[in-house]
Assembly symmetry: C2
Homo-oligomer: 125 residues x 2
């Protein structure tokens, strides 16, 4: 699988709302950065984070564009979720670095306030 | 020039802090969206916006990655500026759509608070 194919399959796993499959694409030493907040390091840490963030009632990521340079894959997306009945739709771009067929780095760039404004009231803390 | 070459030359114009050259890359009907805020439409509107936003003491955009799919170019960047003596450094990704050798669409994705926190106090009002 090419780097683009791997990222497409990763997005398919998200859209199947299959977190076990999502996590299987991550390198053991993955660096995961939602750029407005602190990054996470390691597959186990990311798996825990995803477990805490979910479960999602449904996931619908729209891939607007995808292009690769070497083993780096750049994406433009609209990540839509339903969380506890609340729909969230977030326009963003993400960069993925592939190593040994796995996602070694994943950086998503978005506006945190666009996300927070859509969260269910009970989760806004 | 390929779409990637055009975006590279556009970034070079930014790094030369040459706004006349920057604007020359824009299509008359450009759609310019700093995604956290309202988009602008048309070269004249973008030129006015850039005139109001500047002048910059210096500009240093670092291009971390660039890749194209057809006429769409995706970038990962760190856009650094100095504005009224204040350094600002913003990690972001941007998508560019090229038409007739010009930038027809430009969408930058970033966290607005990461930007606002770095602005000179007099400009935060």
């Amino acid at each position: 699988m090419s780097p683009v194919d791997i990222v497409r399959a990763f997005i398919d796993a998200w859209n199947a709302n299959d977190m076990e499959r999502v996590v299987s694409f991550l390198h053991e030493d993955v660096f995961y950065h939602n750029v407005p907040v602190e990054p996470l390091r390691g597959k186990a840490a990311v798996a825990r984070y995803l477990q805490d963030a979910g479960p999602w009632d449904s996931v619908d990521w729209q891939l607007l564009a995808i292009a690769a340079t070497g083993s780096t894959v750049l994406t433009e997306r609209i990540d839509a979720f339903v969380v506890r009945g609340q729909p969230i739709s977030l326009p963003l771009m993400g960069a993925f670095e592939i190593e040994d067929g796995k996602i070694k780095a994943w950086r998503d760039y978005f506006d945190m306030q666009m996300y927070v404004r859509q969260m269910p009231p009970t989760a806004q803390g």
